[in-house]
Assembly symmetry: C2
Homo-oligomer: 278 residues x 2
């Protein structure tokens, strides 16, 4: 399997691959960081899901995660945020269509044929990564930013035995109650809100809290905080459900990768510590 690109960083290897997704009926791009420790045997891995408009490159180039991942011996897997290509439907809006897959399985036409990101991440990506890289399949965590934080929380809560640890930066954690989520769910899933609940972290945690300790960082200078993110809804749902959660409001930080890079080391340490004892 040949990478599209491969570069040494912090003693490890940062590569970008493309692989076939049957679920999305297209090729998907994935960035993979292998720390030096991966040469010596199976390592824990963290799947990172990016936000609206992003590709596999944003986290890889801007988060500065490889430094700590190389120290901890953590493999980083950063897939693209949606199916791509000329044959894949798109929308002119930044928050719908390509670059905005919302990590769900779409049911509405014309999106259903390709926008099967839940199946892709849960089944195909995990199979591909564990088959091709020295990953300990019992030690996989998941994290993400904004729309990707939504993906990380929902995929973890629905599959706590697969994605054993979970964290998020500024996640869309109550999508049914905010404009980004309502637009995406109506467009991809249709009007039946019972279907929406399966992709709403606040609704999911109420039904099935996980044994993990979830870590969330949220900047209090984030322009999207009060309209799109509303972390208090998820925080309240976790409290009611008995979900272990650390929610940190970070003074003065916005929604950018400068916020992510400021706290990524804490998240990587959190996953490494929790995965070490699973």
């Amino acid at each position: 399997m040949q990478p599209l690109s491969q570069t040494k960083v912090f003693g490890g290897t940062q590569s970008v691959y493309t692989h076939r997704s049957d679920a999305c009926d297209c090729d998907m791009r994935v960035a993979v960081f292998l720390p030096p420790q991966a040469k010596h045997g199976p390592s824990p891995a963290l799947v990172w899901l990016s936000g609206l408009t992003c590709t596999e490159d944003n986290f890889t180039a801007k988060a500065g995660a490889q430094r700590m991942a190389a120290k901890l011996g953590l493999i980083l897997i950063a897939p693209d945020t949606s199916p791509r290509g000329d044959q894949v439907p798109d929308d002119a809006a930044y928050d719908f269509g390509q670059g905005a897959g919302f990590y769900l399985n779409a049911r509405q036409s014309p999106w259903g044929k390709n926008f099967q990101m839940e199946t892709y991440i849960r089944d195909e990506l995990t199979a591909w990564m564990t088959q091709n890289f020295p990953i300990d399949a019992q030690k996989i965590g998941i994290s993400g930013h904004s729309m990707g934080g939504h993906g990380a929380l929902t995929l973890h809560l629905k599959n706590p035995g697969l994605f054993k640890t979970c964290s998020a930066f500024a996640p869309i954690s109550a999508p049914m109650q905010v404009p980004w989520g309502r637009k995406a769910f109506a467009g991809y899933l249709g009007d039946d809100q019972r279907l929406w609940e399966d992709y709403d972290a606040a609704a999911l945690v109420a039904k099935r809290p996980s044994p993990a300790h979830i870590l969330i960082d949220q900047g209090d200078a984030d322009n999207f905080l009060t309209e799109q993110l509303r972390p208090e809804i998820f925080e309240s749902a976790c409290k009611d459900a008995g979900q272990t959660l650390t929610m940190r409001m970070q003074n003065g930080y916005d929604h950018s990768y400068y916020f992510i890079t400021s706290f990524i080391d804490d998240h990587l340490r959190h996953h490494a510590a929790e995965l070490a004892v699973t």
Copy 2:
């Protein structure tokens, strides 16, 4: 003075400003990182010069330098790599014209009117930054990558009392002897090679070694190593001139910002330590 953008990162502030350059007869963009310590008094500063095709953003977004700068209390100043704008001459090539100012004062038409990057960096940028930010003017270092490494070495060697410390990543350190440098010097300066020597780090160090300890990192998997960079020429010139130099060949690293981020902490520590005792 209002920034174009301002974002909190690692407890400090990353901003982008624009300011007037009379030398370049245009507005210039500059990225400025202020560490938390800058609130409490004058701090040392490092000027970073980027390479061909870059702007003020590449180092700022990709090098991951703010983390260590915030620990060390180091201000980071990253200017654009050339004059810009519709009124500024340009060239279709990536290695000449806008984005390729080579940190020199051009003499050839039509470049001379705007391409006065040496004067801009040495006089205007340093005046602007020390007037507007809490910088200890006695503690300014300079570093850069590729074309910017050339800029850092030459500006340091010609102004060791202004830019007191110097380091570089994969610098063009013998430009008179490589295609990038010969093209730029012929185009901007003309055919008189006596003028070129004033912008060739290997020629300069032979005449006036500096009291500083210069640190250079060079990846041995860098595609430009043998044709464009040729660090052995500068290394030999330093040895002959008695210039203190640490030249580190880094196994397996290429010419990208993944190389820079892997070793930027060492460079920031090097500058902070040397500036502390100047």
